[in-house]
């Protein structure tokens, strides 16, 4: 999804264990190992959550409760990672990778959901990171608490997300101009709608009822997607690196096109 194995550095470079210096700093190296283990667990939880959000049922509407709970989990992780500075590191690595290589649709989506600048967390007081729950493969709770608290007291970096797309809880979209241009330039042309990110779009687009008022007036009309059928047709016809044609889309493009054609033809 995004480059794993990227060396994660914490806010203080001094935390990095000196090579071969384990004898001297035995407790702290153990601590760092436990901490990176916790971070790995947290990272894998984040990965898992993002995959869950992306995988939609082909035909049936996804469960809104489940989606909301997973999204809240992602938000929690992101907030914690922002607090201890790992968020900044990860997004830096990600945007570097994006600038260098041709990005796959998967990574695009990951960026979408990952990169959020939360105005709320700026200037917020330090939140104690949550202790990891003991589970298979997860380190025991007690040790985690001790280690993580130490890290937290180091003070968080102010979250400065340098990701292409930033997204505040208030729903405003911010674009970091340069990288956004590179990554989402073509997409922007096709879809002038204010909220182009596919992952959360998929999450909530089906249930976003900008046509809610119509619901109560017209029988048989449930909430319409943000894009009407004609917008969809436009974006489908100009096949490019549109997120809609990515693997994250819930339905295959051909089915969509057939379906739209059926409606237009009036069969």
């Amino acid at each position: 999804m995004f480059p794993k194995g990227t060396k994660r550095k914490f806010s203080d470079s001094g935390d990095e264990p000196a090579a071969g210096g384990e004898d001297v700093n035995q407790p702290s190296s153990v601590a760092v190992r436990m901490l990176s283990s916790y971070s790995l667990q947290r990272q894998s939880l984040l990965d898992m959550s993002l995959i869950k959000l992306q995988l939609c049922h082909m035909l049936v509407e996804p469960n809104l409760c489940r989606s909301v709970l997973i999204a809240n989990t992602v938000r929690q992780i992101q907030e914690e990672m922002t607090q201890d500075g790992t968020w900044q590191i990860m997004t830096q690595a990600l945007s570097a990778a994006n600038a260098a290589a041709q990005c796959s649709a998967d990574r695009l989506v990951a960026t979408e959901v990952l990169c959020r600048q939360t105005e709320a967390t700026q200037g917020e007081q330090v939140l104690k990171p949550f202790p990891a729950v003991g589970s298979e493969g997860c380190p025991a709770e007690e040790e985690e608490e001790v280690v993580v608290e130490e890290e937290g007291e180091g003070g968080p970096q102010p979250p400065t997300c340098q990701a292409p797309l930033a997204w505040t809880p208030a729903g405003k979209r911010k674009m970091d101009s340069r990288t956004a241009e590179q990554v989402f330039g073509t997409f922007e042309i096709k879809n002038p709608a204010p909220s182009p990110d596919p992952a959360l779009e998929e999450l909530f687009s089906d249930v976003d009822a900008s046509y809610y008022d119509l619901d109560t007036v017209l029988t048989g009309m449930q909430s319409a997607p943000k894009m009407g059928p004609y917008d969809l047709l436009e974006s489908l016809s100009s096949h490019g690196p549109s997120p809609l044609s990515s693997s994250t889309s819930c339905r295959s493009d051909l089915n969509e096109l057939d379906h739209i054609m059926e409606i237009i033809v009036g069969s």
């Binding site: 049936v60 509407e61 469960n63 709970l69 992780i77 298979e136 249930v207 009309m221």
Partner: protein, 428 residues
């Protein structure tokens, strides 16, 4: 962990006794409703006393297609609720994700014979041939049970319906989806009142959904709804037309020592049920059942651990999606015991007075007809005793989500995937 092959459509999705307990309805994933009727006690067949046999089967909902969203609407029956019986026929409400239907189930076991104007085949008799009048007589016939849809309540829910509840006034009922609660009149299908709406102006701000709702058993103006954040709101419909501001707010403060990334998910309430007395309500979250006194909002009065041994497995259960399973719970008629399901076809019963609990299993291998169920135990420690089952050998595909308790007697119905088990107290 056997891979049993069965039709997905046969998975039971709801179980409900009617008010007298004489009838038991089940709904399945294929949109069918099967109603069982309890056999009357008779001297001729003493062994079949109280046995439930199939009374009626009908297709309640069909799969539909939402053309605007290009999505299928599942025919799975999410909930069945019986209406109080007002005449010889029985009525129930059944709902899928979008549409609620009122079904009338009536039976005929007599037919009239000896009409004057038509003969036995139904053909009209030649009026000139009729020389005398006779009174038609009623003769017994094979019982025929008919189910007909009397009302269809459609197009009121944008999101998936998770609950329906008949009001104590017997005239109205509520239906709840992820973000809204609507109030209907049983006679009126073309409109409903929206009484709760938690949809944010901007859907991106959505962090909480409605998970269940129920009407108070006696006070027709009171209802509750639970949320994915582990809160319950009690609302009074007399206070305002839109009950967005609750009268009471029930939430247990979080234990900071057990906080984890999964805390919110496991606090999400999957079911809420008022006690028959109306004094208490019970909520089910992923690991526990809580009993609340309606007069105390800050914490439950009783908490029962259903399968605490799963707490250390939450990561795996999140991975395989089991953490999102919605277990239901139910009271017995006297409100002295509660029951809820678990995994491995286990279900749990708690006695509120003695504080004793028992784990039982609903499976063909382990229960023969009229055999007494053996108590099961999951071993939590390192050493596993004989007959205990270790947590790692639990089958998470065998989940008991739906259970029901007879309103008056100790008869329970347990749905284990595609099988229905009915257990009764042994009578010597």
């Amino acid at each position: 962990m056997s891979a049993s092959s069965f039709n997905q459509a046969d998975i039971i999705s709801t179980v409900e006794f009617n008010y007298s307990g004489e009838l038991l309805a089940t709904g399945d994933k294929g949109g069918r409703v099967v109603i069982f009727q309890r056999e009357q006690e008779s001297k001729n067949r003493p062994h079949s006393r109280g046995e439930y046999n199939v009374y009626s089967t009908f297709q309640s909902h069909e799969p539909e297609f939402d053309y605007l969203k290009s999505l299928e609407i599942e025919e799975k029956i999410n909930k069945i609720r019986w209406l109080p019986q007002q005449n010889a026929a029985h009525s129930l409400l059944s709902t899928n994700d979008k549409t609620i239907k009122l079904w009338k189930i009536s039976q005929r076991d007599k037919r009239a014979e000896g009409y004057n104007l038509k003969d036995e085949d139904g053909r009209l008799r030649d009026p000139f041939r009729i020389t005398s009048l006779r009174v038609p007589v009623l003769l017994p016939m094979d019982r025929m049970v008919e189910a007909s849809p009397r009302r269809i309540f459609a197009n009121a829910h944008t999101y998936h319906i998770n609950s329906i509840s008949v009001n104590s006034d017997h005239e109205t009922y509520l239906s709840a989806d992820d973000l809204r609660v609507n109030l209907w009149h049983l006679e009126i299908t073309d409109r409903s009142f929206n009484i709760v709406d938690i949809k944010p102006a901007n859907m991106e701000e959505l962090t909480e959904v409605i998970t269940a709702a129920e009407c108070h058993p006696h006070q027709c103006n009171v209802f509750v709804y639970s949320s994915s954040k582990g809160t319950i709101r009690l609302c009074d419909m007399r206070a305002a037309a839109l009950c967005d501001r609750q009268s009471k707010f029930f939430e247990e403060p979080e234990d900071p020592s057990s906080r984890s990334f999964f805390s919110e998910i496991i606090s999400s309430i999957s079911d809420v049920k008022f006690s028959h007395s109306g004094r208490y309500m019970m909520t089910r979250d992923y690991l526990s059942v809580k009993v609340w006194d309606l007069n105390m909002e800050n914490r439950p009065v009783e908490t029962y651990q259903v399968h605490e041994y799963l707490r250390s497995k939450l990561c795996s259960l999140y991975e395989n999606d089991c953490i999102f399973d919605k277990f239901e719970c139910c009271w017995n008629g006297a409100d002295s015991a509660i029951m809820t399901g678990s995994y491995n076809n286990f279900f749990r019963m708690f006695d509120r007075n003695t504080r004793r609990d028992v784990t039982l299993e609903a499976s063909r291998e382990n229960s023969k007809p009229r055999a007494i169920l053996k108590a099961r135990k999951v071993s939590t420690g390192g050493k596993r005793k004989k007959d205990e089952i270790s947590v790692d050998s639990l089958d998470f595909n065998k989940k008991i989500l739906h259970t029901a308790w007879h309103p008056k007697e100790n008869v329970i119905a347990v749905a284990a995937t595609n099988n229905l088990y009915i257990f009764q107290d042994k009578i010597n």
